[in-house]
Amino acid sequence: MKRLLLAILFLGLVAISVDGQRERYAGVDSTPKLGTDVYAAMKTVIKTFSAVTAGSVDDYQFDNTVANITEQTREIASIIPAYAEIVSAQVRCIETLVSSGVDVMAIDVGTSDGGAEILATADTDTANDINATGAGDGPEVVATNAARSVWVNATPDANWDTLSAGRWVVIVTYLDNGAVFTEESP
């Protein structure tokens, strides 16, 4: 009986320990609770894009088989949850654009197809070029009660089918007010 009680005590203490570890990297909960009524709700999402369709391992690809310079738009569907405010955004070229024509790519980011609500158009075509939130420009987009998609829109100076390289990351930071409400369950 005594051994059983001690074993239960041991298991209980181990459980407490595991519980402590569980929250160590704040990885289990999508919105970590920091204290009574207080949460960490600022989140950053990252997606990758490639100018080359074939063989790409990125999240999204532009179509480099077409013989025109028409803007192509890609939707990151419902990436911003309902009630979230878009605080900041950044497009970063991680692989220089290579074209048999002109190595120029203009990119803008919006919350509508072809729109520039988040980041205005800027040439972003050399590794480490960034297009980012301007000073005094945050938050980028006010919160709404519906989830929102983010659109990444790219326009090359040379036909798409002249492009053989070019990769970007698109990073969007938002304040997840909806998740705080859900966690609190009032």
């Binding site: 402590g20 945050g138 938050p139 009660n145």
Partner: protein, 189 residues
Amino acid sequence: MKRTIIFWLIFVVLAVVIAVHGKSQQGRYGGKSSTTRIGKDTYLATKTVIKTISVDDDASTDDFQFDDDAADMNAQDVDLGAIVPAWAEILSAQVRCFFTATAGRNTVSITLGTTETGNELLAQAENFTVNVITATPAGDGPEATSTAAAKNVWIQADPSINWNALDAGRWAIEVTYIDYGAVYTADVP
């Protein structure tokens, strides 16, 4: 017998050590810690505090209540307390109606400020239907600069009908701030 006691003694001591270690890790990178340290001299210090308020002051389970016994339509201001710590910068605010204020064709307008009757955080806007929000406009952040003193947040509701004619209505108020004071405290310079 002696060996058994020693065995279980070691067993329990070991278990306690494991448990204490686990709890000590809990606040290190998240969880119960008020400010999450994510590297040397680097912290996650952006925090969102949420409070709820109800029109019904009789059976409400919310954090705060307006007085729905008043036979007038005067604006009521409720102090949510010093929910923004000293040194913190208020980045953003949002008021979300999550239970429609039953007011017939009448309305309820909401304002949020850092002073009584003030609108330093959110300008007055009608907000009385479920899922309607009043939020920080684009390009309007931060909402309030940091000061050395903690700040109270005040919510004001202004109905277009007498309060005692309202029989429902609930809102969640979320205020997001950068807790510079906590970073300083956690770093213990």
